[in-house]
């Protein structure tokens, strides 16, 4: 909610801008540039700390690469939030974590208990996630529920069904446990000797999702329609765009991605846990944080895939460093501090950018 008195419009741009002013403007208006600078700052800080011997374990490229396994669910759900927040009219999806839990149980039953082939289990889980997203999309887009309310309600419902489905018990039969090998790290062919091993999930799930969402947003008519309805859905309707259908699909895609994250999560835990996506503060809040940090405007219509990916890298490498900088449980607490500070900082920055430069890209 912005309650700003209308700012006086500058009559003309100042003819010349100092170098420092230009750098500041680029950093504030180009979210990608800001995130890149912050990532470098974080990594350099921890490298220096590491060299000074302040960390409990070495913070090097191997460690950074291994910590990327945490980026897989985070970035994917961040992209899911990107799609729904972009769709405008207060778009948000609080239920992604609950969909991860519920679709994970579906995967656990199908692959772990009923012996489906892996590809079928993955496809069914993803389709199931998409169905859960379709419920959200139907409520929001066709009935007209505010997204916050609809997804809050489905968050409760999915969470409850996931926990009751197997009587609060996780499913960790042998086929599920064997999936853990999928979340290991692999050496890349050709260049593998020169760079650290990379978690397999990056290639099997994250990169395909990133590429598909990027293509969807920037290279298809659907992507242009999504930007259009997020920016101004009345204008979009007058332009002949099926607003409701377009918005509906954004929620379906978010559910689909959440279904895929469920498979990743089951592999990481080597068990289908009924509270996988909702324990603690859940998966939805970090995902929304990533999206906002990545420059997605909560009012819709603005957001880029690269921003979300860079924001994920920033948060993952920051968290990984914090874990090493503190002994024991403290690290997890300071991660909360870091996440909260970064989010408030990013939000204030978005506001400042909007007032000073009329928006960021």
């Amino acid at each position: 909610m912005t309650i700003a008195p209308p700012a006086p419009q500058p009559v003309a741009e100042p003819a010349r801008e100092s170098a420092a002013g230009r750098v500041l403007r680029v950093l504030l208006t180009q979210r990608i540039a800001l995130l890149a600078v912050l990532i470098v700052a974080v990594v350099v800080t921890f490298f220096v700390q590491d060299a000074g011997g302040y960390l409990t374990a070495p913070y090097d490229f191997d460690y950074m690469s291994a910590s990327l396994i945490n980026a897989v669910p985070l970035a994917m759900l961040g992209l899911a939030e990107l799609l729904v927040i972009m769709s405008g009219r207060g778009g948000i999806d609080l239920s992604v974590g609950a969909i991860v839990s519920l679709a994970g149980m579906v995967f656990g039953f199908g692959y772990g208990e009923w012996g489906w082939p892996l590809w079928l289990a993955i496809v069914v889980t993803a389709v199931f996630g998409a169905l859960c997203g379709a419920v959200n999309g139907f409520l929001v887009s066709y009935i007209g529920f505010p997204a916050l309310i609809a997804t809050l309600a489905t968050f409760y419902a999915y969470k409850s069904i996931a926990i009751v489905a197997n009587d609060q018990q996780p499913i960790s039969t042998p086929p599920i446990q064997d999936l853990y090998s999928l979340s290991g790290s692999v050496e890349l062919p050709l260049i593998g000797q020169y760079i650290p091993d990379v978690p397999l999930g990056i290639f099997t799930f994250l990169l395909p999702t990133v590429v598909v969402v990027w293509v969807l947003l920037t290279r298809t008519a659907y992507g242009r329609r999504l930007y259009a309805i997020g920016t101004n859905d009345v204008a979009a309707r007058w332009a002949g765009i099926e607003v409701r259908d377009t918005r509906f699909k954004a929620y379906v895609y978010a559910g689909l991605i959440s279904g895929l994250v469920a498979v990743v999560t089951v592999g990481q835990f080597a068990s289908a846990r009924p509270d996988a996506g909702v324990s603690g503060s859940g998966m939805a809040l970090p995902a929304i944080t990533i999206a906002v940090l990545g420059g997605v405007a909560i009012t819709g219509g603005v957001g880029r895939v690269a921003g979300v990916v860079l924001a994920t890298l920033l948060v993952v490498w920051l968290n990984a460093g914090i874990l090493l900088a503190f002994v024991g449980n403290e690290g997890a607490q300071y991660q909360l501090l870091a996440l909260g500070t970064v989010l408030v900082f990013a939000a204030l920055l978005n506001g400042l950018t909007n007032r000073r430069y009329g928006g960021s890209r």
Binding site: M1, T2, I3, A4, P5, G90, I92, L139, I143, G144, F145, P146, L148, I149, A150, L152, A153, T154, F155, Y156, A157, K159, S160, I161, I163, V164, D167, Q168, S281, L285, I288, T289, V292, I298, T299, Q333, Y334, L336, L337, L339, G340, T341, V342, L343, V344, A347, L348, N350, G351, R355
Partner: protein, 339 residues
């Protein structure tokens, strides 16, 4: 040119008919009906339900949600939201619990401490939202993390043990009741009634609705928008502090780190079930109290029927959909009548 005597304008016709919406909305009547049906159904199926031993805990458990719900209703009426109340409750209650254990403070001091702590956290939210001009949901997601960090740091260990029974006045026990009614619930009802009157019958109260309807129009009409928004979050914080006292009193002598966790969604659920529009500009604290009572009735009913307790979340979800859906349909019908 002859000088014309200017006719004084005719006295404005005093508007007849209602300026205010009716004191009780349709949503609230429906909620009363639904709660009555549920209570009768539960009384028929489980004979133990309509007894003091079952209803008193129900009312005690409703109190903290409904109390924070009063503040949340005001915040949502202004077009905002506060998802940090669960974390703020945790901070408030751990500070108070520590003071009770280590300083052995008296009841009024403990309450003041909790309310002050909650108020400060609310002030931080309010300052960031009103003057930082950032969307409330983003800021409060951020401050929720900060509050969690703060609370966990104050906790130090996993639990606070040996909390004395200083706050028993708000608790489940005999000291916590007058004429069979729990004090926590009575206080909540009193604060709800005061807020209802304030929101409905004072200029300051109507300003919140004006801001939620259109902040720019409200500003042009002379409402100090930023101050009113700040006030909404501070009031929520103060109520969070009092609710934290209720939570300590309701628990055992041990407070663990999960206190307050997930409460923000329960509060928001109570508010929207009560008929407050999440888009701002419309809502009622009376509905919120009924919404909280309904949610707690479902939770308690599911346990008493011997069903899995996690099923209550499913019903809460369904109630949110039905309540907001009914509201949407009525709004659509209203729009059709007027056009």
């Amino acid at each position: 040119m002859s000088t014309q005597t200017l006719q004084p304008p005719a006295a404005p016709v005093t508007p007849r008919g209602r300026v205010l919406p009716s004191p009780v909305t349709g949503q609230e009547l429906i909620l009363v009906g639904v709660i009555a049906v549920l209570w009768v159904a539960l009384a028929l199926t489980t004979p133990a339900f309509l007894t003091a031993g079952s209803l008193q805990p129900l009312l005690v458990a409703t109190a903290p949600i409904a109390l924070v719900g009063v503040g949340m209703t005001i915040v949502i009426i202004t077009g905002g939201i506060d998802v940090s109340v669960g974390a703020a409750m945790m901070v408030s209650s751990v500070i108070t619990a520590k003071a009770l254990v280590e300083q052995e403070v008296a009841l009024p001091v403990a309450v003041l401490l909790a309310v002050a702590a909650g108020g400060l956290l609310g002030l931080l939210n309010g300052l960031l939202i009103a003057y930082g001009r950032v969307h409330a949901i983003i800021i409060t997601f951020g401050t929720a993390n900060l509050f969690l960090f703060l609370g966990l740091q104050i906790f130090g260990s996993r639990t606070v043990n040996g909390i004395p029974a200083t706050l028993a006045f708000f608790g489940r026990g005999q000291e916590g009741r007058t004429l069979g009614l729990p004090h926590a619930f009575l206080i909540t009802v009193a604060i709800t009634a005061a807020a209802w009157w304030y929101l409905r019958h004072t200029a300051g109260g109507r300003h919140f609705f004006a801001i939620g309807g259109d902040p720019h129009a409200a500003r042009l009409a002379g409402v100090r928008v930023q101050r009113r928004v700040l006030l909404a979050y501070v009031v929520t914080g103060l109520l969070v502090g009092l609710a934290a006292c209720f939570l300590i009193a309701q628990g055992t002598s041990t407070l663990d780190q999960s206190v307050g966790s997930g409460k923000e969604l329960a509060v928001i659920a109570a508010v929207v079930i009560g008929g407050t529009s999440i888009m701002g500009g419309r809502g009622s604290v009376l509905g919120t109290l009924l919404g909280a009572l309904l949610v707690q009735t479902v939770t308690s009913g599911v346990t008493q029927l011997g069903w899995k307790s996690q099923l209550s979340d499913l019903f809460v979800g369904v109630f949110i959909i039905v309540a907001v859906g009914a509201d949407l349909l009525r709004a659509r019908a209203r729009a059709r009548r007027t056009s």
